[in-house]
């Protein structure tokens, strides 16, 4: 991190096509000792330099070659975010293989489906938990898996399955292969083409089984050019550069984290800092103080709710300051939202008072003090949350995209923010709204190569003139920005013939810190009903304050006082909508939704069909 500070563009390629792997070589040649990644180990953030990362990638590439992974073969990665994830990802790309990631929360059945569908030859399973998901099933269930590589030996050491291989042995194998076939990986890299598939990103599958979206080198290059290097994205106008810090904590198998971690690293040289686990994100965030931070709405809402509770729980003098500070933040937020995210002299003045008073300390505690760009995407976020963060001076920009177009669709630029929209289309890309349905359609170099081994499904996602159908309905706002209405297939038609977008209502409900999940139903029914799940922490805190004793999640959500609380929130939401869009009845979801129980996808999206089946009695009760 010395001489390259001012250089903001990505490196050029001397030979072969620029791939995510070859870009690492560029950085390693340019600034070998600079830090590429950090991983917390025994309380210390151990640093991986670019040269070490490059060396590891080459060695891992040789090891894959030694295991017989050829061009176009699939390597699957089932792990929390860790340096080995990135090394293996890039090593696969280097030898022209294909990688695919699995969510650590994927249950056995899904692992089986994903490994067999992708036909992975080598499977990386981080620890005993993930190894067991493969080994517990009979060998015949995984006919194609030849090697399982693990990196946490605890508990696995005593296993005798011949498919198992420890990471260190894997790398040793790579070193030996490298000594005998020096240059083999580099030779393959030079042969890479733009059309090489580099990764399969499985869609979350809210409706059917997951489909593997194929992204190639051209898609990756386009995403790096458009998203990482987007003009006017950050507060200070500078593109991401090697001094930037990123906290890597969302699953890397999701296209968003892949772009905001791995592709930011290879494209702009930013440093990745791996969070220890999802539980420690808040602590790690405070340690790392990232300059670029992407989070899904769930995380932003969680931070927001935690902050509000903690501010309220402070000692009297602090609370006095907090009340004043929050008043100021509310004013600044409203003022900035009204002015496309810009300060007016009034809000600037209020900020000058509020910042030393408490915003700065608050941001430091949360870990966003040095944040110069923060983003949210992958789901809708409540405008109130964006307003709050704008108020304390953390500008959170909403962006939109999907796996199938390498996440390149729209983004909010600094100073041109419209809260409630997902922003403007990237410069020079094809993006249109369908005249009839209002569906957003894109056509550019980031559009994927198709679904893995599903040509019919692939054809179904394109219009006759070759535009990608995103399946999201949008409307233009002021002719420049796009607002997402809902998924096409989620739109509810009531028996009265009214078209209702459930997401809007759900998001309005979820604005409250007390509500974690809401699912509006009413397809073919007389009126709308909703299933509501409470946020256990905040409602628990609320119950404590109001002297309501409770034991479990179910007990708490069935308390009459809590139902009354939710009723109040539902009424508040109903005021914002027309009569036909109002929730007449709701029922409490008696358990916390979970990926493993099949209610949520790995990305924490509610599986609507599964929910309606699982809670059929509750749904029926709504219309009795």
């Amino acid at each position: 991190m010395t001489a390259t500070v001012d250089r903001v563009d990505g490196p050029s390629t001397p030979s072969g096509v620029a791939t995510v792997a070859s870009r690492v070589r560029e950085w390693a040649e340019r600034d070998p000792d600079a830090t590429a990644m950090r991983e917390k180990d025994f309380g210390i953030w151990q640093e991986h330099s670019w040269s070490r990362l490059w060396d590891d990638i080459i060695t891992a590439g040789h090891a894959l070659l030694a295991l017989g992974v050829g061009v176009g073969d699939v390597v699957s990665i089932h792990s929390e975010d860790r340096p080995e994830w990135v090394v293996l990802d890039l090593a696969t790309v280097a030898i022209r293989g294909i990688n695919t990631g699995l969510y650590p929360t994927n249950p056995v059945a899904e692992v089986k489906y994903l490994l067999n569908d992708s036909g992975a030859k080598v499977h990386f399973a981080e620890d005993q938990e993930q190894v067991d998901k493969v080994l517990d099933a009979p060998r015949g269930d995984f006919p194609k898996v030849e090697k399982i590589i693990y990196v946490e030996p605890r508990g696995v050491r005593t296993y005798t399955d011949d498919r198992l291989m420890f990471w260190d042995d894997f790398m040793e194998l790579g070193r030996r292969h490298r000594a005998e076939n020096d240059g083999a990986v580099e030779a393959l890299m030079a042969e890479a083409t733009d059309e090489d598939i580099i990764t399969l990103v499985y869609t979350s599958g809210t409706t059917g089984p997951p489909k593997g979206a194929m992204l190639n080198n051209r898609n990756a290059k386009f995403a790096i050019d458009k998203i990482v290097m987007a003009e006017g994205r950050t507060r200070d106008g500078k593109n991401p550069h090697p001094n930037d810090q990123v906290l890597t904590y969302l699953p890397l198998c999701h296209v968003a984290e892949r772009i905001f971690s791995t592709w930011h690293m290879v494209g702009a040289g930013v440093t990745l800092n791996f969070a220890e686990s999802i539980e420690t994100v808040q602590i790690n965030l405070r340690e790392v103080q990232p300059t670029l931070f992407f989070a899904v709405p769930r995380i932003w809402e969680k931070i927001h709710a935690t902050v509000l509770i903690k501010l309220n729980d402070a000692t009297p003098l602090k609370r006095l300051f907090n009340v004043v500070g929050m008043k100021l933040a509310g004013f600044i937020g409203r003022d900035r939202v009204a002015n496309n995210g810009n300060f007016t002299w009034k809000s600037r003045l209020a900020y000058a008072v509020g910042n030393p008073l408490m915003f700065r300390a608050l941001k430091e505690r949360v870990g966003l003090r040095r944040c110069r760009w923060a983003g949210t995407g992958a789901a809708a976020i409540a405008p109130e949350v964006l307003e709050f963060f704008m108020g304390i001076g953390v500008d959170v920009y909403e962006l939109y995209g999907m796996t199938e177009n390498a996440a390149v669709a729209t983004l909010n630029h600094h100073g041109r923010v419209k809260v409630g929209t997902v922003g403007e289309p990237y410069a020079d890309i094809g993006l249109r709204l369908d005249d009839e349905t209002g569906e957003i359609q894109t056509k550019h170099e980031g559009v994927f190569a198709g679904y893995w081994q599903l040509p019919e499904k692939t054809a179904d996602t394109f219009t006759d003139d070759g535009w990608l159908m995103t399946g999201d309905v949008g409307v233009w706002v002021d002719g420049t920005h796009i607002k997402i209405v809902d998924r096409i297939k989620h739109i509810i038609i009531t028996s009265g013939g009214k078209n209702v977008s459930p997401s809007e209502i759900e998001n309005s409900l979820k604005t409250s810190p007390y509500i974690k999940e809401a699912m509006v139903i009413g397809e073919g029914r007389k009126y709308l009903g909703a299933l509501v799940g409470i946020e256990f922490d905040t409602v628990g805190n609320w119950a404590l304050r109001n002297n309501i004793p409770y034991t479990t999640y179910r007990d708490l959500s069935e308390k009459p006082e809590v139902i009354e609380l939710v009723q109040g929130l539902v009424d508040e939401t109903n005021e914002k909508f027309a009569r036909a869009e109002q929730i007449k009845k709701f029922r409490m979801i008696p358990k916390e939704l979970d990926h493993e129980d099949g209610e949520l996808t790995a990305t924490q999206k509610v599986k609507r069909n599964a929910m309606e089946e699982m809670f059929a009695d509750l749904v029926e009760d709504l219309y009795r």
Binding site: L311, D313, A314, K318, F321
Partner: protein, 435 residues
């Protein structure tokens, strides 16, 4: 990492004494102020002369500060033994005595009534520490056998053994009647030369440091004459800084961590591979070294004293320092020694001020009269009168307050002054949250 105080990329940075630049700047400024105190004159900025804490340059205050430094060094030693390693000791005065008389024998005047070799400070000061450390090692094995109150009794016994020995080894100590003279605070290369640096006499700022005058002369007005007290204070300040750094460093070494493990639970420590006997041995040796050095400095500072100086009261004073300051912390120990020596002076000044207020008359006079007795038939809490008076005299009042403070701290703030500081710091660190 720069700008990210919680992001540690190496154990060195996690353990560094002053991790942030703010802390570094504050410490340097603080030391600068401390050095500036005795240099009458201060910083010249334009026409004006700026000397913060200038009131402390008074000789009586400098003597107090010198005592703070000496007792600070001694208390750091007890803090290592009691605060870090958890070994209660009342024998600190004994080890100080050992150090003092080692210094006396090695550095005292040649011939005459008492033993003395007239060796220079660079021999007698370290030797005082080393001999005390050796004696400490002899005592250590008992600590392996007994702990807690019993260890306190054993070390208490040391003080009485020491007092008896010191009183009777007249050729070394001079006995109870007259005591003896001790080596001077001056630096000589060998026995009989003229001192190269004399910290014990008035005179110009010492020659070897003239370059300081040349370097900082334009900004700082170095006085031509520096008093004996000022020089003594400065050299003691330097020694204190050295010992503070050593103590701070000790805390973050393997030995320091072993001490803390031993303190928290000796059996658990041994299970973790911390050898009980060896670690206690080290704790006593290091602690006694500090005590020996402090003892030698104390007698050199006083000049002449009797063996009874090293009695139980001295030990108790050290215990008070680390209890009031906060056991187990270097900063607390320093705060404790500042408090223990500065507070009595403040009480005295306050009593004098009260008396003056009564005499001056006015609104405050009657309020002040309530506390102060100005004549034999005027009841009051404190009196500045000579001889017998109806109220307490100032030193009695000090003792009362002293006792109350120790009781108060033990009950309300077991972590001492440092605990109060911690609480204040955490209040601001947590801003705007409470947890």
């Amino acid at each position: 990492m720069r700008g990210r105080p919680h992001l540690y990329v190496s154990y060195e940075s996690e353990q560094s004494l002053l991790p942030t630049w703010t802390q570094r700047v504050i410490v340097v400024l603080f030391l600068f102020l401390m050095v500036l105190i005795p240099l009458n004159g201060g910083i010249e900025i334009g026409e004006r002369v700026f000397q913060p804490l200038g009131f402390l340059s008074d000789n009586s205050w400098l003597k107090i500060l010198s005592r703070v430094a000496i007792f600070g060094i001694g208390a750091l030693g007890l803090n290592i033994l009691t605060g870090l390693a958890g070994q209660v000791s009342l024998g600190h005065a004994f080890f100080m005595g050992i150090g003092a008389y080692t210094a006396a024998v090695l550095g005292g005047e040649v011939g005459k009534a008492h033993w003395g070799l007239g060796l220079p400070i660079w021999i007698w000061l370290p030797a005082a520490g080393l001999v005390a450390a050796l004696v400490g090692m002899l005592v250590a094995p008992t600590a392996v056998r007994v702990r807690g109150l019993y260890l306190a009794i054993v070390t208490l016994g040391l003080v009485f053994i020491g007092e008896y020995l010191f009183r009777n080894l007249v050729s070394i100590t001079g006995g109870s009647q007259s005591g003896r003279k001790f080596p001077e605070l001056e630096f000589r290369w060998w026995q009989s030369e003229e001192p190269a640096l004399a910290f014990n006499s008035d005179g110009p700022i010492w020659a070897p440091f003239n370059w300081l005058d040349w370097l900082l002369g334009p900004w700082i007005n170095f006085p031509a004459d520096v008093s004996e007290e000022a020089k003594t204070y400065l050299i003691l300040l330097v020694l204190l800084v050295v010992f503070v750094v050593l103590a701070k460093n000790l805390q973050r070494t393997r030995i320091g961590r072993a001490f803390m493990a031993l303190r928290d639970r000796d059996i658990a420590a041994e299970v973790m591979g911390v050898p009980d006997a060896k670690t206690k041995f080290e704790a006593f040796a290091i602690s006694s070294f500090y005590a020996g050095v402090a003892g030698a400095l104390l007698v050199a500072f006083i000049g002449r004293t009797i063996p009874e100086q090293f009695n139980l009261l001295l030990s108790v004073q050290f215990v008070a320092i680390i209890l009031i300051g906060g056991a187990g912390t270097v900063a607390g120990t320093l705060m404790g020694s500042v408090f223990v020596f500065v507070f009595p002076r403040l009480v005295q000044d306050f009593s004098v001020w009260l008396t003056e207020t009564v005499e001056a008359g006015g609104v405050l006079s009657s309020v002040a009269d309530f506390f102060v007795s100005t004549s034999l038939d005027d009841p009051g809490l404190v009196s500045t009168l000579e001889g017998v008076s109806p109220g307490l005299n100032v030193s009695q009042l000090n003792l009362v307050i002293y006792g109350l403070l120790i009781v108060g701290f033990l009950i309300f703030e077991p972590l001492g002054l440092y605990g109060i500081w911690l609480r204040i710091r955490n209040y601001w660190k947590g801003w705007p949250f409470t947890y």
